[in-house]
Symmetry: C2
Subunit: 155 residues, 2 copies
DNA sequence: CTAGTTTAGTTGCAAATGCACCTATTTCGG
DNA sequence: CCGAAATAGGTGCATTTGCAACTAAACTAG
């Protein structure tokens, strides 16, 4: 390939990384006031949406490595934002749920985050946001299917 | 807000994080064979596209914190993939450029990464990829403009 | 020209990360 | 049933990360 033919800005993942990078830096700034870091925010939001979930489910929803999540949840639990509960039917499983304080925390922060999100999407027509959603969901499904396939073949 | 009204999968940044997370995990796997990590790959690709650039420019292009980039470039320089050169007109500036070995490295890896990218985008019509590009570029511009504005006011 | 400010890049250090490994359950094949 | 394999979650440890602070060079105003 002639080097001139390779242009960064023609690649979707370049832009994805740029957008997530810029927004997470900005988000981190905003969350500092609340004593929260970005992955903690993702965990908080996921738990708020799901009410109850297991460690593994939350790791997936919040895009946090399982081992990292253990320590993230330690901190959030110490801070009193959520509780670890045993699962009735399966002794291996930890059920997570936000405490009232955790829910309040989310509700206090969410308006600012929503505003940042809206700002990032300023000027983008609703129809294109729809497309964005659909395409991203498809990409995620594609990648998940691929991982599944790899695992099957590799044994 | 009633908790039931907050749904993760209705938010663009949830999907962005999911997609980048899944793809970077997959990418990391693929790069392991080449002794490269994901941020190093981004730096390699950015330098390949740009031929020459400064540390600050590369930090922006590859979405790597400037202080982290110093050490990333140390490693890549030690590995013989790029060289640090002084700038003629400004003694503060470091000009970076891939060596022949660095270019070869990129060319060797790129086909596999391109394949992964194509896989992630499988089934997405070209027209929608166009929309994706345009929307992401706009989002990035929005976020950059916001950061600039903040700095001006806070300064 | 010279003192204060901005910009480019680096380093110290404390904290976060993730791989490899471990333990405790549960499930599955025979 | 029983032993092997799978699954949920947690630890140890080396590596990576990024904030704060620093050095050095280049502007900028008086």
């Amino acid at each position: 390939m002639p080097a001139a033919a390779f242009q960064l800005d023609r690649h979707v993942f370049y832009w994805l990384t740029q957008v997530i990078g810029a927004r997470d830096r900005e988000l981190a700034q905003g969350l500092k006031d609340f004593g929260l870091r970005v992955p903690e925010w993702r965990a908080l939001a996921a738990l708020y949406a799901r009410q109850k979930c297991t460690m593994s489910e939350l790791a997936d929803l919040a895009t946090i490595d399982r081992t990292t999540l253990t320590r993230t949840i330690d901190r959030m639990s110490d801070a009193g934002w959520l509780s670890r509960l045993p699962d009735a039917g399966d002794m291996r499983v930890t059920r997570l749920a936000l405490t009232a304080a955790g829910k309040r925390m989310f509700e206090r922060i969410w308006p600012a985050v929503r505003e940042l999100n809206a700002l990032a999407l300023a000027g983008v027509p609703k129809s294109e946001i729809e497309v964005l959603h659909r395409v991203l969901a498809r990409m995620r499904a594609n990648l998940k299917a691929y991982v599944g396939e790899e695992e099957t073949h590799a044994g």
